[in-house]
C-alpha cells in the first residue's frame, strides 16, 4: 500500500501480492502432519487451542520469518534502488568502519587501556562492529524489529510447550540464520527449504505432543524434500529435476509404509502419487507446465496428512 501523489483521482493505491514460496500453507500443513504423527489427543480445549496456536505460529509467524531471513529479504530491503553510480555507496553496504584506535567512537573502553594494548585493539574492533550494527539497525529497523518480535514470539510459544519444543524452536532459528547466510547458493537453499518449509514445522508439531519418533523424523524429511521440489517447480513455473525429487520422495514414503507392514496405507499413497504423475504428464503434453504445481499440491498434501495419520496410529 502506498499513497498515490502521482495517481490522479486516487488517494491510496492498494495492491495484493502473492506470498513468496515458503510462507503459509506448507509450514502449516507440516505442523498439522507433525501433530497427527505424534498421535496425541486433540481434545479437550487446551489441545485444540495448542493445535490452532501452532497453525498460526507456523503458518503466519514462521512463514513471515522464513521470508524475512530468506533471499526475498534482500530484494525487499531495496525494492526501488537502481545500481549505484561509480563512487557512490550502495545503500545496502555498511558504512565505512571507523579508523582503528579512534578513541572518540569507542562505545566502551576498559579502565587503564593505553594505545597499542590488546584491550585497545579489542575496543577498536568492538567500535567498528558497533558502528556496523548501528548502521544496519538504522537502515533496516522495520525488518529487524519484525524479525526480533516474531523470534521472541516463536521462542515464547515454544517454551510454553516444554523443553523439547523450545529446543526445536531454537533449532528453527538456527535454520533461519543459515538461510540468511546461505542465500544465493541454490543447493543449500533447496536443502534448507526442505528442512525449514515443512520438516521443521512437522518437528515442532510432534514435539509439542511428545518426543520425536525416528519414523516421524524420516517421514518429515521425505515430505520436506517433496515440498522443496514442489516449491521450486512453482517458482520456476516449469517441470524439471525438482519435480522428479518430489515424486521420488513420495515414492520413498510409499516404500516406507510397505516395508513397515502397512500395505493399505502404501496403496492409498500410491494412488495419490499416481494421480500426481498422471496430472504432470497431461499438463506437460498440453504445454501447461506452469500449472503443474497448482494442480498437484492438493494430492500431495492429502498423501502427507494420510501418512501422518497412519504414523500416529489413528487408522
Amino acid at each position: 500500500m502506498r499513497t498515490g501523489d502521482d495517481l490522479p483521482g486516487r488517494w491510496i493505491e492498494a495492491r495484493l501480492l502473492p506470498a513468496p514460496t515458503g510462507a503459509g500453507l506448507g509450514p502449516a500443513l507440516g505442523w498439522l502432519a507433525g501433530v497427527l504423527a505424534a498421535g496425541g489427543p486433540l481434545w479437550p480445549w487446551p489441545y485444540l487451542g495448542r493445535l490452532l496456536l501452532g497453525l498460526f505460529l507456523t503458518g503466519a509467524v514462521w512463514g513471515r520469518l522464513w521470508i524475512l531471513f530468506g533471499e526475498e529479504a534482500a530484494s525487499a530491503d531495496n525494492p526501488s534502488h537502481g545500481s549505484p553510480s561509480p563512487g557512490e555507496r550502495h545503500p545496502a553496504e555498511p558504512a565505512e568502519p571507523p579508523e582503528q584506535g579512534e578513541p572518540t567512537s569507542l562505545p566502551f573502553r576498559l579502565p587503564y587501556t593505553i594505545p597499542g594494548s590488546l584491550s585497545a585493539e579489542w575496543a577498536a574492533a568492538l567500535a567498528r562492529a558497533w558502528a556496523r550494527l548501528r548502521e544496519a539497525v538504522e537502515r533496516r529497523r522495520p525488518w529487524l524489529l519484525e524479525a526480533l518480535g516474531l523470534t521472541a514470539l516463536l521462542l515464547l510459544v515454544g517454551s510454553l510447550w516444554g523443553r523439547l519444543s523450545l529446543l526445536t524452536a531454537a533449532a528453527g532459528l538456527a535454520l533461519l540464520l543459515l538461510r540468511r547466510l546461505l542465500r544465493g547458493r541454490p543447493a543449500a537453499v533447496s536443502l534448507l527449504r526442505a528442512c525449514g518449509g515443512l520438516a521443521w514445522p512437522w518437528w515442532l508439531g510432534h514435539t509439542a505432543w511428545g518426543p520425536l519418533a525416528p519414523g516421524s523424523l524420516l517421514l518429515s524429511l521425505l515430505w520436506g524434500v517433496a515440498y522443496a521440489g514442489w516449491a521450486e517447480t512453482a517458482r520456476v513455473r516449469a517441470a524439471g529435476r525438482p519435480l522428479l525429487w518430489t515424486d521420488l520422495a513420495q515414492g520413498a514414503t510409499l516404500a516406507f509404509f510397505l516395508l513397515t507392514g502397512r500395505p493399505v496405507v502404501g496403496g492409498v499413497l500410491a494412488f495419490t502419487l499416481l494421480g500426481q504423475v498422471l496430472l504432470q504428464a497431461g499438463l506437460r503434453r498440453a504445454g501447461r507446465e506452469e500449472a503443474i504445481a497448482s494442480r498437484t499440491w492438493l494430492l500431495a498434501a492429502a498423501g502427507m496428512l494420510l501418512s501422518a495419520v497412519a504414523l500416529g496410529g489413528w487408522l
Partner: protein
Amino acid sequence: MDTDLLLNLAWVVLMSVLGMALPVGIGLRAARVTRGQGPPGAGRLLLAGLLALLIALACGFSLQYGAVHLPQLGEEARPAWQWAPFGEGSGILAWGGPGLSGAENGRMALFLFQVAGTATVVLLALAPLHARLPGLGLAAAALAIGGLLYPLLGHWAWGGGWLAAAGQMACLGHGFADWGGAGVHYALGGLLALGGLLATRTRREEGEGESRPALVPVLLAVFGMTALHSASAWAALPRMGLVVANTWVGSAAAGLVAAVYMAFTTTRVGTPMLARGLLAGAAASAGLAAFAPPTTLLLVGAVAGLIACLGSYLVEQVWRLDDPSGVVPAFGFGGLWGVLATGLFADGTYGQGLNGVGAGRYLGVPGQGVSGIALLAPGMVPDYAQLAVQVLGAVVILGWALGVGWLLFRLVSIRPRK
C-alpha cells in the same frame, strides 16, 4: 587442663602472634610506597601501631569483647555489661572491665587476636595519610580508631551486638557472618582511609603512580592474613586447613586476574596491581574462608582481582585521590566484596549454630549452616535472609567508616604538610 583446651589456647596465641605480620606488612608497604617529604613513614606508623596496642588494652578490647564468653578457651562465666537499648539482641555497647585485670588465659589469648586486629585497622586507615597528618593528629586518629571505631563495629559483628543477633532477633539468616574480618578488619580499615582521603582532600598529582610495588611487605601481609583468618574461630578447628587454603586460593586468583587485566589493558603485567590483587583476594576470602570450598574462592578471588583494578582506577584516576599503597581498593572494596560474597556463595556446610541460630536444623534442613543463594552444597537450600543481613552489614560498615571516619579525619587533620 585438658588437651583440647591447651590446643585451642596454643592455636589462638600462635596464630594471633603470626597475624601481627599483617599490620607489619601494611606498615612497611605504606612507608615504602608513600611519597612526600614528611618524617620517616615507618617510624610514624610504628608509633601508631603501639598506640593501637595500648588503647586496645585500655578500653578497645573490653568494648569489643566485654560481653563474649569463651568456654572453648576455658573461661569461666564472668560478669559483663552490655547496653541494649531495645532489649535483648540490640547490643550497642559492652564493657568487661578495664585492661586485662582478672583475665584468665583464654581472655589473654583473645586479647592477642584483638591487638593484631586493632593494629591492622589502624594501619590500614593511616596508610595513605600518615605522612600528611600532624603528629598529634596521627596519634589522636590511632587512638580513636583503635579505642572506639573498631571496637564498636567489632562488638556489633563479633561481640554479641545487634548485627550478630540479627539472625535470632529479626530472622535474618545466621546474623551477620564475617569469618576472618573481611568487613570488620579490612573493609573498615580501607574505607576509613577513604573517608580520611576525602576529609583531608588529599589529591593525587598528575603522573603519580605506585612506582615501587613493595612485594615483600605484601607477601608478609598475606601471610599475616592467613594466620589471622585461622585464629578467627578462637579455637583450633578441623576446618583450619580449608581456611588457609581458601585464603591462598582467593589471593592467588585475585593476583592472577589483576595481572592479566593489566597485561590486557597496558601490555605489561603491572607488579603494583598484582600486589593489590593479592591483597584484595585475601581480604575478600576472609568473609567466607570457612564457609565455602576452594573452587568458590577461585571465583570470589577472581572478582576481587577485578575489583582491585577497577577500584584503583576509580580512586586514583576518577576521584584523583592519593592512595599510593592501594588500601582503599584492595582492602576497602575487596573486604566489602568478601562480606557480600558470603551472602552469595556460602555453601551451607558450616556455621551451624553461629550466633545461636540453627544449631540442629535450619530452613528445614538438618545440619545446614551459613548459606548463600548460589553454589550451595547438595541438599542445602538458598538463604536470601543471609544475603540481606550481609548487605545490611556492608551498608553499616560503609556508613560507619565513611561517615565517622570522615568526621574524625576532619578533626585531626589540620593542614597537609608541605
